[in-house]
């Protein structure tokens, strides 16, 4: 018996099964009879487009096989199968079109490359150099982009900003001298912290930009940008309370800017005034990397088959600045060989021979190929920090263990593996202590540096000088 009272039947004949009247729902538009695909939300069919642009909306045949059971467009199983086959064929066609489009895209890419190639008829076309070389050390326009490089060195700029921000009390109402202000960033940090007056001295033409930037940021009443060397400009005050500067170069003293900062200290810093940074330390550690060292030492021996070893004569080996020396290649303890107190150090002490060090080489190491040198600076002095609890110290480190800075580390590769005598080439490094001395002196060219390292490996002595030009 059906639920529809209209069709009470007591016996069924074959013809009853062939008649659809018993399949009619009691409820019109009974939701149970709908399939999800047939629910058409506004706009949905338009979104279902493939790359060839053809519509993949539900075929009409499917739409009508659902809700419409009242006689119009009833389909037999054969017709439904046919509709499905049609859909399948359509899908296959679309897949084929997509495949063709992809092939065409690939063809275009190849054709394009060929076009560039044909234009230059270059037989050496290879994959374009992967990963653009955005090396900061490779910029021929160092004049301007050096500032971007330094400003983007977060470790460096954050250190100064953090220190100034954490110690506003040191700056409020004070007179500050910024030596070598560049784009004026440090001066603006100081002005922000409440400095009453900031004199920003800059000898290069970038001073014009600093002036504009100071004005654009509304600091023209506090910050005065002065063009010239600090030894030559006319400062409208006799003394300043604070001298701030970012003067550090590779291996700390390359470029020789510290000379100017110390001159400024001796002429302008008030009694009890602050130097920022207040202290700098120099560190040395041994490194071992036979492959690198061999390449480094041997480069000029054969250049396209020619002997160019003459390039090494009369000229000390060079210090290599590495962007971020791999800590794994350092095989011994690091040692601080020089401490500079920037409140008291004299200019003549910037050339020294007594940078003593002692380190221990890792057990099992058979070859030491040279030395790695780096520095730390402390923005506040120990005394200041100790005497006044409210002074927050900030340290900026260029150690290979720390985050990368634009200073990297200075690498001095020894001419021969250390520990072996130059003539017999026998490797004779024993584990244990190495003592020695580092000497810094100024090179012939302005700003250049000569680094001398003398070592004593349990009786085996050696010495070498490197140039940082």
């Amino acid at each position: 018996m059906t639920r529809d009272e209209r069709h009470k039947i007591y016996s069924l004949k074959k013809s009853d099964f062939e008649d659809d009247k018993y399949l009619q729902p009691i409820l019109e538009d009974d939701p149970v009879l709908y399939s999800l695909e047939e629910i058409v939300v506004d706009g949905q069919p338009d979104q279902r487009e493939d790359s060839a642009g053809a519509d993949v909306a539900m075929p009409e045949s499917f739409k009508s096989s659902g809700p419409d059971v009242h006689g119009n467009g009833d389909l037999t199983y054969e017709e439904k199968l046919q509709a499905m086959n049609q859909t399948l064929e359509k899908s296959m066609q679309q897949l084929d079109l997509t495949r063709k489009a992809l092939d065409k895209a690939n063809e275009n890419a190849d054709a394009w490359k060929s076009k560039y190639e044909a234009l230059s008829k270059d037989p050496h076309t290879a994959q374009a150099h992967k990963g653009s070389e955005k090396s900061q050390f490779d910029d021929p326009y160092a004049g301007k982009s050096i500032h971007q490089q330094m400003l983007q060195d977060r470790v460096r700029t954050d250190a100064y900003r953090d220190f100034i921000r954490d110690n506003e009390a040191l700056f409020t109402g004070r007179t500050v001298l910024d030596v070598g202000c560049g784009t004026g960033i440090l001066s603006m940090f100081c002005a922000q912290a409440g400095a009453a007056r900031v004199f920003a001295v800059e000898s290069s033409m970038i001073y014009q930009k600093a002036q504009q930037i100071v004005y654009d940021n509304g600091f023209q009443d506090v910050i005065k940008v002065l063009h010239g060397k600090v030894e030559e400009v006319h400062l409208p005050v006799q003394k300043v309370d604070i001298i701030i500067s970012e003067w550090m170069g590779y291996a700390l003293l390359y470029e020789g800017m510290l000379d100017s900062v110390l001159w400024a200290r001796d002429h302008y810093l008030a009694e009890g005034g602050l130097m920022i940074p207040a202290r700098a330390n120099l560190w040395i550690a041994p490194f071992s990397d036979p492959e690198y060292a061999l390449e480094r030492r041997g480069f000029w021996d054969s250049v396209y088959g020619f002997n160019m070893s003459a390039m090494r004569k009369d000229q000390g080996p060079a210090v290599d600045v590495h962007d971020s020396f791999d800590n794994d290649r350092i095989h011994g303890t690091a040692c601080m060989f020089k401490e500079l107190d920037l409140h008291t150090i004299k200019l003549e002490h910037l050339s020294f021979t007594n940078g003593e060090f002692r380190f221990v080489i890792d057990p099992g190491r058979s070859e030491i190929d040279g030395f790695v040198i780096w520095f730390d600076v402390y923005l506040s002095s120990r005394l200041e920090a100790a005497a006044n609890d409210s002074v927050r110290q900030k340290m900026l480190s260029t150690s290979p263990c720390c985050k990368r800075t634009h200073w990297g580390q200075s690498v001095c590769t020894a001419e021969n593996p250390i520990g072996c005598a130059a003539d017999d080439g026998q490797l004779n490094v024993k584990e244990g202590e190495v003592i020695g001395k580092v000497g810094y002196s100024k090179g012939k060219e302005a700003g250049s540096l000569k680094i001398n390292v003398a070592w004593d490996l349990q009786g085996i002595r050696g010495e070498q000088t490197w140039d940082l030009t």
Binding site: Y116, H129, Q148, T183, N307, M311
Partner: protein
């Protein structure tokens, strides 16, 4: 004066070639040549953008004074090409960087950044347009005055994309060789230290596949510093869509 010549002398000696190679120190225009004529002039004179800091003047002087009739020059052909590139991310990094530096407005440096062509490596996939040959130098015939040029270009977009910059590179040819030797410094070629030269536009061009960016590239030595270049670029996007039409002119100092 560069003292590398002393090293060169030593190297020549070490390699047993003193009987063949004579090293003379001095400017080409000033030295006294032991021979009145030479059969071949060879030089690696090319600079960034081909002409920046290039020694081409000197090579041409040598040609005019010393090259024998039917003498050869290596290389003898150089061509400058251009293309348009999509470089949104890097432009932001290099130029947009100055908008906000630790909260400060550093836009005065943005202008400087835009006025300097950037020498950098460009990937082929960044190229939105076909390349276009812009300027050709035949070292046998060109004169120093011709190195100040103004040449048209037309860059056809091969896909719908944005153009942030126009790039330039050069190709070099040694046609005198039995099998001509050539190399390119284009984005499709192996890396060279010349890389490519990137000229950022102040605006961003929205181009459709098939549209052309036309214009002129002009370059001349700077009046005060001969080895520097004053470059100017004029461009126009040829499009029927008014909302995307763009045209402009830019000056660069290299």
């Amino acid at each position: 004066m560069s003292t590398i010549i002393d090293k060169a002398k030593e190297i020549v000696e070490r390699n047993g070639m003193t009987s063949k190679i004579t090293l003379l120190q001095g400017k080409m225009e000033e030295i006294k040549m032991p021979f009145p004529q030479v059969d071949i002039i060879i030089s690696e004179w090319m600079g960034y953008f081909l002409l920046y800091e290039s020694m081409l003047d000197t090579v041409l002087y040598a040609r005019d004074h010393y090259l024998a009739k039917d003498g050869k020059i290596f290389p003898d052909k150089a061509t400058i090409h251009m293309a348009g590139i999509e470089d949104g991310d890097y432009k932001d990094e290099k130029i947009g960087f100055w908008d906000n530096v630790y909260g400060f407005d550093f836009t005065p440096l943005k202008d400087t950044a835009l006025a300097e062509p950037l020498v950098d490596t460009v990937e082929l996939k960044a190229c939105v347009t076909d390349p276009c040959k812009v300027f050709e130098i035949d070292l046998y015939t060109i004169n120093a005055e011709d190195l100040a040029f103004r040449a048209p270009f037309s860059l056809k977009a091969r896909r719908s994309d944005f153009i942030h910059a126009l790039i330039a590179w050069f190709d070099i040819e040694f046609t005198a060789c039995h099998k001509p030797i050539r190399f390119s410094t284009g984005p499709h070629s192996k890396y060279t230290h010349w890389k490519q030269t990137v000229f950022y536009l102040r605006e961003v061009l929205t181009v459709e596949d098939g549209e052309c960016v036309t214009g002129f590239l002009a370059s001349k030595p700077n009046a005060k510093k001969k080895r520097d270049l004053d470059i100017s670029l004029k461009y126009e996007l040829q499009t029927s869509d008014d909302s995307r039409f763009a045209a402009g002119g830019l000056d660069f100092k290299m």
